[in-house]
């Protein structure tokens, strides 16, 4: 993968709105054929960054190359070759699915057959429906179809699954995974770490306009955690100091009403934990063993949970 040329290259990108530093010195590369994720909470600067790359917003400073073009000055050539899905953008409410896909196709020199796109995105049964009659998931799939009308080599997806139910989210993930299978490069933003873990080859964790970490998901996790976590519902009978004294436990955290123990030896810590629970009269504990997630990495980096 390292041998592939970079599709996007960003160096020290900055965009300030008055006192607010929306993007504050961001640098990263996106390789050809990968799914790259910008992961961060709302207001982290993800949308500003992606819109600068799409040529919809301008940078205050920094150098940017997208498919070899400068989005600020060569937006026209760039727009022919990228596919874009905007966060929260709606569509012409009074046009049908077919009409809208065909309309967008006419804006480009290079076009995919709209029939095939509609079928691919699973919208066959809704061809004649007006876009205002579509469900949230159908609307997101339609906006991906619109991003594909010009057969782009690079696709930008801004929060593609926000507002969808778990089922709709999973269905959309399949479509995004197929894009990678077709050899397209995808840059997506998300504030769902689960989504980033599922879809992205590499992620950049972004907060307050700065990139905190970049790398493959596994790499990021192992960079910060060599350990596993034990999770269980917290009990009044067991104190944190008791837990911290258990064998091989390196750290004790709380997430919502759960206790999270970090351990370098899972069997020994579980045995000690169950013993402690019994001695304290806390009854049976439901213990879940997990490797740390991107959520934990984010928590580690910022001291805050990623979830809203």
């Amino acid at each position: 993968m390292a041998a592939q040329p970079d599709v996007i290259s960003v160096t020290d990108l900055r965009r300030h709105y008055g006192e607010v530093k929306a993007v504050d010195g961001v640098s990263f590369e996106v390789h050809k054929g990968e799914v790259f994720g910008l992961l961060g909470p709302n207001g982290a600067g993800k949308t500003t960054t992606i819109e600068i790359l799409e040529g919809l917003n301008r940078a205050d400073s920094g150098s940017i190359s997208v498919l070899g073009f400068d989005p600020t000055h060569q937006a026209d050539q760039l727009k022919e070759r990228i596919g874009v899905q905007l966060q929260a953008a709606s569509l012409y409410p009074d046009l049908s699915v077919t009409e809208l896909v065909e309309l967008f196709a006419t804006f480009y020199a290079r076009r995919l057959p709209s029939d095939r796109l509609i079928t691919q995105l699973g919208l066959d049964e809704r061809r004649g429906a007006l876009t205002k009659e579509l469900s949230g998931g159908q609307r997101q799939r339609l906006s991906i179809a619109l991003a594909l009308v010009n057969d782009p080599e690079l696709i930008f997806l801004d929060e593609p699954t926000t507002g969808l139910d778990p089922q709709g989210r999973r269905s959309l993930w399949e479509h995004i995974e197929r894009l990678r299978g077709e050899g397209r490069t995808v840059l997506l933003t998300t504030h769902y770490m689960e989504e980033a873990e599922q879809l992205c080859d590499r992620v950049a964790i972004i907060d307050h306009g700065k990139i905190l970490e970049i790398g493959a998901v596994d790499e990021l996790i192992s960079r910060h955690f060599s350990e596993r976590t034990l999770r269980f519902r917290s009990r009044a009978e067991i104190s944190d100091s008791q837990l911290a004294g258990l064998r091989d436990v390196s750290r004790v955290n709380h997430e919502d009403d759960e206790v999270v123990l970090h351990t370098s030896n899972v069997p020994r810590t579980i045995a000690a934990l169950l013993e402690l629970a019994e001695a304290a009269g806390a009854g049976d504990l439901d213990v879940v063993v997990r490797r740390p997630t991107l959520e934990d990495v984010f928590l580690e980096l910022t001291g805050r949970a990623l979830r809203d």
Partner: protein, 359 residues
Amino acid sequence: MRGFLPLTIANIKSFYRNRAALFWTLAFPVIFIVLFGSIFSGGNQTFPLALVDEDHSQVSAQLITGFDNVSILEAEQVDREEALAHMQSGEFAGVLIIPQGAAASLAGGQTVSLTLITDPSRQTATTALQQVVGQVVASMNLRLTNAPTLLTIQPQTMQTQNISDAAYFVPSILAMALMQLGVFASIPLVSQREKQILKRLAATPLSRVTFVASNVVMRLIIAALQTILIVGIGAWLFGVTVVGNVLVVIGFIVLGALTFLAIGYIIAAWARTEETANAGTSIVQFPLMFLSGIFFPISFMPEWLQPVAAAMPLTYLADALRQTMVGGAAYAGLGVDALVLGAWMVICFLIAGRFFRWQ
């Protein structure tokens, strides 16, 4: 201009599927024209006339029979007090009084003068009553003097500068509809910006010039539909036909549509949300509607309001259409109309272009 034609077709489809837009731009002017037409059309108008007989003689009875036979009068015999009271309240257009002792005076060879009271503010009624009463009295004179009828009047009409009510309001309503079409163009634009449709389009190679051109052409196509509808109904129901040069009429329709479209674009530049755009259209359209002499001539307005009307672009569009379509009297010359509209159009397009935000 890639995408121009498909985008225009998509715009027209969106417009056609939007019931509210369809109603305000096409159905509303039609309702207006039919309503106004029914209220003001002067085709079979009659005038209620009170006859006050204070003589109670054979002569006065004969005179009253004479009035009964005139079809455009609704003559009714009442006493003086009632006649004056009902005249005051507007039920009678006029009162004719036959004084006491009229028959006796006539028998003695003396001239009798009848009193005809009319309201000068009801100009049409005053003119009609004075003519009709004059004719009836003249024929009565002949009968009383037993002179042979040598001269009679053959009534004929002739179209003059003084156009009919229907001919006045058909061009007015066309002007009003074109104004609304332009001003209302702001609402879908603001809605498309609010919903980020404009931003989504900006992410495609579609150029802004193509987008604006498509929007303008779509509005002009609707303007053509409005014109056909309004002129058609005017001709069909009220017999108002276009007497002027059709090309000049079309020229003014296009100029007017573009001028008000430019004003609509200013509203779209100013309004952040669809609600404020809606409010903006009201703020603009109602003063234009009532201060532009489209419902009544500007000379009927209070004097202090007349300069306001003189500044309104709709005044000049309605004036130009009235002159070119039905040969109405000029408020300003056609050159002045074109100049004022053109100036409004250029200035408004410049302002809109300067302040319009795409996202």
